[in-house]
């Protein structure tokens, strides 16, 4: 499976990151690229439950491909959402179901962000994404 261009860019940027500090700065830069959601979209129905910070996730299917938009009020979490969306946006249902997200974060040097004790909510985001794309 070839990487989407945005995912390739994320991999190039993060793989060369020497430490936590640079990674944090990079995450925040990626987070700035997330398009803010409108007031009408930041509603409880779009909110991901189980995150300490507020996170909203919207999914839409166009011509068989999934498109996502997401936002959080925490900046590092916005960055994590951005690199997640870079990998999953535009995938078909089958590709999405087969994607190993943990491996993706591992490749970026961000695997700790998915550990079960993290309260940042990335696991809840992934769970929500699966629910949205199943229905």
């Amino acid at each position: 499976m070839s990487l989407p261009p945005a995912a390739r860019a994320a991999l190039d940027a993060f793989a060369g990151c020497p430490g936590w500090e640079q990674r944090a700065r990079l995450l925040m830069q990626w987070g700035e690229r997330l398009e803010p959601l409108g007031e009408a979209e930041r509603v409880p129905a779009n909110q991901v439950q189980g995150c300490e910070s507020s996170v909203w996730l919207l999914a839409e299917r166009r011509e068989g491909c999934w498109h996502f938009r997401a936002y959080s009020d925490a900046r590092l979490l916005r960055g994590l959402l951005a690199v997640l969306l870079a990998r999953v946006d535009g995938l078909g249902g089958e590709e999405l179901a087969q994607l190993d997200v943990a491996e993706w974060f591992d490749q970026l040097g961000l695997s700790r962000q998915l550990s079960p004790s993290r309260s940042n909510g990335m696991n809840a985001v992934l769970q929500r994404m699966r629910e949205l794309t199943r229905s």
Partner: protein, 401 residues
Amino acid sequence: MVLHSPWRADFPALSLFEAQGQTYLDSAATAQKPQALIDALTGYYTSGVANVHRAQHSPAERVTRLYEAARQRVASWLNAASPSQIVFTRGTTEALNLLAYGLEHRLAAGDEIVISALEHHANLLPWQQLALRTQARLVILPLDARGEIELDAAARLIGPRTRILAVSQLSNVLGRWQPVEALLQLARAQGAITVVDGAQASVHGRHDLQALGCDFYAFSAHKLYGPDGVGVLYGRADCLDRLKHWQFGGEMVRRADFHSADFHAAPMGLEAGTPPIAGVIGLSAALDYLCSLDAQAVRRHEQALLEHLVAGLSVREGVRLLGEPQAALASFVVDDVHHADLAQLLGEQGVAVRGGNHCAMPLMQRLGVPGAIRVSLGLYNDGEDLTRFFAALDQALEILR
């Protein structure tokens, strides 16, 4: 500033953390364990276990003696009149749930349960749900800007319909001592049952419960340098007697047939099933350890650490403390910085603090913040820990701003 902890070496995890570059400042969540406790647990498990209060064989007699000696130990720690006033539970949460069920028959529609705006979910949700079950009214005592329950308001709100007053002695978010004596007086004057949540307070100073005069007091062992899975419910003898049994099973029953049963009085009647025997013995060892320390020296050390912490936070631009902390912990927010971002970058630097709502969502709403960072101290922390915390905080803020 040199703030040395002479007790740090008693806690093996602290040297391990040091080797790993970890700074532990989350003791209000759970505390590290002294070697004395670890030895007691190992000793119990290696000398042969048995269940308590059930058998005539000699291992059972030995373990039952240890278990009941622990009850005596806790009673004397709290200055309870008798060990029969000590009920072992799984933690503060279970102790408070026990009360919310055990007292249910004393409530009628329209009665009032009074708590405060700073309660941990453990001292809020059992009462909230009890109020819903009985159509009682939950009354919330407001706080002043320092984070203390307002006594004027309490004097108005605690009234003739008040059946239960349940308040924390020390806030897990604001680190402020509460005017519990005055509140108990107000409640007693109305004939209300009084409950004190001592989960945080029990760790910082010994409390004489006969002098305090509350009907019930609850705390957890794991915050008091003891094992997890064990809590204590203290009750005045006449108050314990009026609790309804709430969990049913082994050893709490006096006589049973297929269709009816009657039950032991407290404490046995409130300890259904096999209790956390090792944990109870461990708690006793933790109390022995604490008793061997110079309590005044511990208090002075914790006070000095807190002053250093508060002073350091206060001089940093944009940092805002929640309330005015007095004991062992401080919570803060930073202007234009999300607490989750800050918690994450502190974590990246090996500083263990808690970020979030601290199991007190309604308090956070009241304070108008989505969450906060809490730094909490144990007797093993030292000035170096705080130096590392401040360095990590400055570094994190530089990245985030």
